[in-house]
Assembly symmetry: C2
Homo-oligomer: 432 residues x 2
């Protein structure tokens, strides 16, 4: 296909979605909930067609030699489809943020001004080969009265098209236009460029995926972007920490689900702790090694960890600068001894990605200083970084975790998919 045809096709789709947006914005909560139920029903009805389409994607990826986590994330099962259906039904039960009066005030001249929550309009979601993102994104967009343009990775194209066909059938069955949820089925990278250049048709772009995808989207987009997800998170064990608590938090933050962005990547330990309680550190190291966590240690912590008689040598090595910069997303932990709070803060300022940062300490003053000074979406005192999550924060669902400061920070729930407008009611006021 030549460039002009591609452009016409992508813009045609974006135009149609843009046209559908005002209708979506006007739906009542009941109408939106009925649509979500109908989408859930259609997914169930179409489950075997979806699995068949997915099987083709999975086989193609396997043929290309892929065997790891990507293949696993691409693969759908009846259980996973059931999870999507449950996800849709959970969104039904969340409160509808649209129409909420956020503020209301009267001016001296009698003008009545209300700040009212409204949809963004059209949201574009650019993602990789996880088909569940298709259903999640469509559900959250619909509940917030937004139209959505989806563009997933080409490896998941058949799966995504089958899912979107089911979601659109759900819309059709309640009399809504299928363009409210549209999928750009063009495998070329150019199609992404076209979506991200269409600032008259798309109000917000959300990249969901790895650091490479996010950087690419930020680079080319004219549409406002929310950056999500990269988390090089730290736990800092302060001199005055309850060390049993520190052990529990470190093990949880590193091992409970290491592949996600709110998992810990570097442990910072006060030198005083290593000096005064070396036995605590060696037993922590032992517990980590037992859980097959590979340790990348600075000199001080290395000496203590290597003392362990049972230390498996393949899991212990010296840390490099690159380790402190890494979001491992796996069972690898960098460790660094620091000289007190100031040193910990400057390490976090240098290497952190403004996602989630924790301190373990019994000293309330030090804790408050840490909470104030650290620039991150979520800062923790005596708790695991793993709590940075829409459900854990009580938002019910999330479309991602923002690591930028504009618009939304941390877990993004339904309210974060909304904008607002000012409604001004007068009696003929003019400006003097």
């Amino acid at each position: 296909m030549n460039g002009e045809d591609l452009k016409a096709r992508v813009f045609g789709k974006l135009e149609a979605t843009h046209q559908a947006a005002p209708l979506l914005a006007r739906l009542s909560t009941d109408e939106k909930n009925r649509a979500l139920e109908s989408m859930a029903d259609a997914l169930l009805r179409q489950q075997y067609a979806i699995l068949a389409a997915n099987q083709g994607d999975v086989e193609a990826m396997r043929d290309s030699g892929e065997t790891g986590a990507r293949l696993e994330r691409l693969t759908l099962t009846l259980d996973r489809i059931q999870d999507m259906v449950s996800g849709l039904r959970q969104v039904v039960n969340l409160p509808d943020p649209i129409g909420e009066i956020m503020e209301s005030f009267e001016r001296g001249n009698g003008l009545q001004i209300s700040k009212v929550r409204v949809p963004m309009g059209v949201i574009a979601v650019i993602y990789e080969s996880r088909p569940n993102v298709t259903v999640d994104s469509a559900a959250l967009a619909l509940k917030t009265g937004n139209a959505v343009v989806l563009r997933g990775g080409k490896e998941a194209m058949a799966s995504n098209l089958a899912l979107v066909a089911a979601l659109q059938e759900g819309l059709f069955n309640v009399g809504l236009p299928k363009e409210a949820i549209s999928y750009v089925d063009e495998p070329s990278r150019e199609s992404v460029d076209l979506i991200l250049g269409a600032d008259k048709l798309v109000d917000l772009a959300i990249p969901r995926g790895g650091a490479g995808l996010i950087a690419k989207v930020k680079e080319i987009s004219r549409v406002p972007v929310i950056e999500t997800g990269v988390g090089n998170c730290h736990v800092y064990v302060h001199e005055a920490a309850n060390l049993d608590m520190a052990t529990r938090i470190v093990l949880n933050a590193k091992t409970q689900r290491p592949s996600v962005c709110n998992a810990m990547e570097t442990l910072l330990v006060d030198e005083a702790v290593l000096r005064n309680h070396p036995e605590w550190f060696t037993s922590l190291a032992e517990a980590l090694l037992q859980r097959r966590v590979e340790l990348r240690l600075d000199q001080q912590s290395f000496e203590l960890a290597a003392e362990q008689p049972s230390a498996p040598s393949d899991l212990i090595r010296h840390a490099t600068e690159a380790d402190y910069e890494s979001e491992f997303l796996s069972l690898i932990l960098a460790v660094k001894a620091v000289r007190g709070l100031a040193d910990a803060l400057s390490h976090i300022a240098k290497y952190g990605t403004k996602h989630s940062e924790a301190i373990v300490t019994g000293d309330a003053k030090v804790a408050e200083e840490f909470l104030l000074a650290v620039d991150a979406a979520a800062v923790y005192h005596n708790a695991s970084t793993r709590f940075t999550d829409g459900s854990e924060f009580g938002f019910g669902a999330e479309i991602g975790i923002s690591t930028q400061k504009l618009h939304a920070r941390g877990p993004m729930g339904l309210r974060e998919l909304c904008s607002y407008k000012y409604i001004v009611r007068g009696e003929g006021q003019i400006r003097e």
Copy 2:
């Protein structure tokens, strides 16, 4: 200078400002207010040096043949410097948004979560040749604990450098680093590209200027941008309007200050009004023509306006498609007859820039329908569009009027220059 030198210089400045940001973020309200007072004092002390520098800029612009509004906006006087000083002192009196607890809640597991307002960090302001933007932007950034990088048009470079030198002297006198307010004194366009590419050092970019500048910034920036200002605003006179009120609102919205973004550009009038009250329209046209407003009329309204015996023919012509698309920012008004609310809404959806839109009607139901359906930062019933403004909304000061939907919409005051973070206090909670 070669590209590498330029890059090193610009990045050196951005790095220094980035380094200063955490200190700014931690200042108390009193410390920030003392800095603002000190900046005001320094401006007054330096006023003749500032005027001397400005004179050079003004002469260079005049030599280049410029005589109009741009020259006028560039020119400083003792009165204008006094206005800047008063502006700084007004910002002292505004409430400090930083540290405000926006929400606070406890989760079932005992975690205490607070959403706290924090500075953005580093804000870059890219603007043209209005030196007052330099002082405004620095004042609003400082009050919100943000460091700021300024890059104005090269025609105003000497003026801006003199102003920034005074502002930095003010910072120095209260012991604050001058890098908190920095000016990129590189005339090349490349320096703007470098600032907007530095997404690790700059948290937010705000273009302040014409549509060309804004489009350019959106195109090249990797830093999140807030789009401000372009306003193709409409006033819709509905069939059930109080026509005297309509006249007052139309004259105000068009002529009170035609050069600004919240001025009306197109008048939409119900056909029923033209049919049933032609005398109202001809007298409105007469009032507009008396104020030297050029009218660009569709066929129906043209016929009525041309009936005017005294109509000066140089001020009346037929409207073209381009007129409805134009933000005139001058004494020109496009007029279009519409067939009721639906027709008005679709005209606004097609040509509006989501800035400010007004309806004049006595029918409350029609008004509510308009307020709900129109997608704009501010929607008005029976009031002039000219009220979309930070002071008119009671925000005390504004850095611009956002026409995008991400983060902030409409007048942007101090709160809109802030982000937030989640502070989470626990007692050893881990995720199950």
